[in-house]
Symmetry: C2
Subunit: 236 residues, 2 copies
């Protein structure tokens, strides 16, 4: 499924704390979202606390659309996910957050709607949404902080697009010959200091040592470092 | 992969703000983690701000282990993921957060280590970790808030365990006969008010109307509501 993160709007309905708006803006920018809409923020607007908390995402706060009503915020939106727990008294399809990408409508302008810190979304606000999306949580402590809910759903939605991303070069494990050379070096030193007190155990102990160092996955440089250690110890 | 969320420790190294410790504790409890360890918090300890921000997870803050060093925090830990961006100058396996469950070691006591707000983890702290885990983010704004990083990784790790969870009963779509009865009712009323001005279009228009209402997926109750609307309108 192609999820258009950059084009997905995040709508905060009646948020109370500027800190949460700022934290939401920051995580949005962390994950390449930029379309923030704020309906009747109780903290006033513009909000110094929102700007301070947004850190490197001040532009998301500054460019946020301030709206007077949900209808105004949804003016250009085709499809709305409401972030809330499943309401048993409302006939509305509800999905687990882990299925969000699978349910993301194609070629539509999508918004995710979050309620305020204290009361969440009212039934009349929810009735406008196309689907409910729920973050499954511990029943003993099920209510997520507003900015944390935004973080989880923004992360989830862009999750598939980053899933294949490799984080850089693999570790450049030294060629086998380097490791075997190092082991030969070690073996000679161990023989020299008469490490194997019981000579009949020498070969099986050497096998164990070989196995132990083979598993390290050391690079050329690390092997050189260890040879330096052997050399220093044996000279000492 | 079996991920033992309840047994996974979250370690915060030199956190500065009590608010972030509290928010981390809250999201931990939201996702059923409880083992929090705090190394040299700059906000002092106990921290009122941490307790206030933890909301329903005050017990996680109160039971947090206060440590003087990373070594102390890792005393009973077998395997450490360090949450940071990939360090190109360090030979350390790095994984994308989306692969966290796949790399979770079985039958080991696991910790996820997070650095402080300002400087993250130092190279010497990182060198103790078994793997680096990175949350892929926007290069223009790559630094996540501490509590948001905790939220994302705690969510990711318990993601698979909640993936199959159904959120409740499916919508109980009415039997076909109810819908057909409603459509018959509507058809009679439309005939009565001479809705189809051009009579030769009546049948194709009725097909369209049938299709339109069939797609609603209405329940018994919703069909009764609509029949009530038809009745009221026609009496009016």
């Amino acid at each position: 499924m192609a999820v258009d993160v950059q084009n997905t709007a995040i709508i905060l309905m009646n948020p109370q704390m500027g800190e949460n708006i700022g934290a939401a803006a920051r995580i949005m920018k962390n994950f390449s979202y930029h379309d923030l809409r704020v309906i009747n923020p109780k903290c006033g607007w513009p909000s110094e606390k929102a700007e301070a908390m947004s850190a490197g995402a001040k532009d998301v706060v500054e460019n946020a659309r301030l709206c007077n009503s949900l209808e105004e915020a949804l003016e250009d939106i085709d499809y709305v996910f409401a972030a809330t727990v499943r309401k048993r008294d409302m006939i509305k399809p509800a999905i687990n957050s882990t299925d969000l990408s699978n349910h993301y409508p194609q070629d539509r302008k999508v918004a995710i709607l979050f309620g305020g810190e204290r009361c969440g979304l009212s039934n009349s606000e929810l009735s406008i949404a196309d689907k409910i999306v729920t973050i499954v949580s511990n029943e003993e402590c099920s209510s997520l902080n507003l900015a944390q809910s935004v973080a989880v759903l923004c992360y989830e939605l862009q999750r598939e697009s980053v899933q294949g991303i490799e984080l850089g070069d693999k570790i450049d494990v030294a060629p086998k010959a380097e490791m075997l050379g190092m082991l030969k070096h070690l073996e000679q030193e161990l023989d020299r200091i008469n490490f194997y007190r019981e000579h009949n155990k020498r070969d099986s102990m050497l096998d164990n040592i070989t196995n132990m160092f083979t598993r390290t996955g050391w690079t050329d440089q690390e092997i050189r470092t260890f040879r330096g250690i052997i050399r220093s110890l044996s000279q000492y």
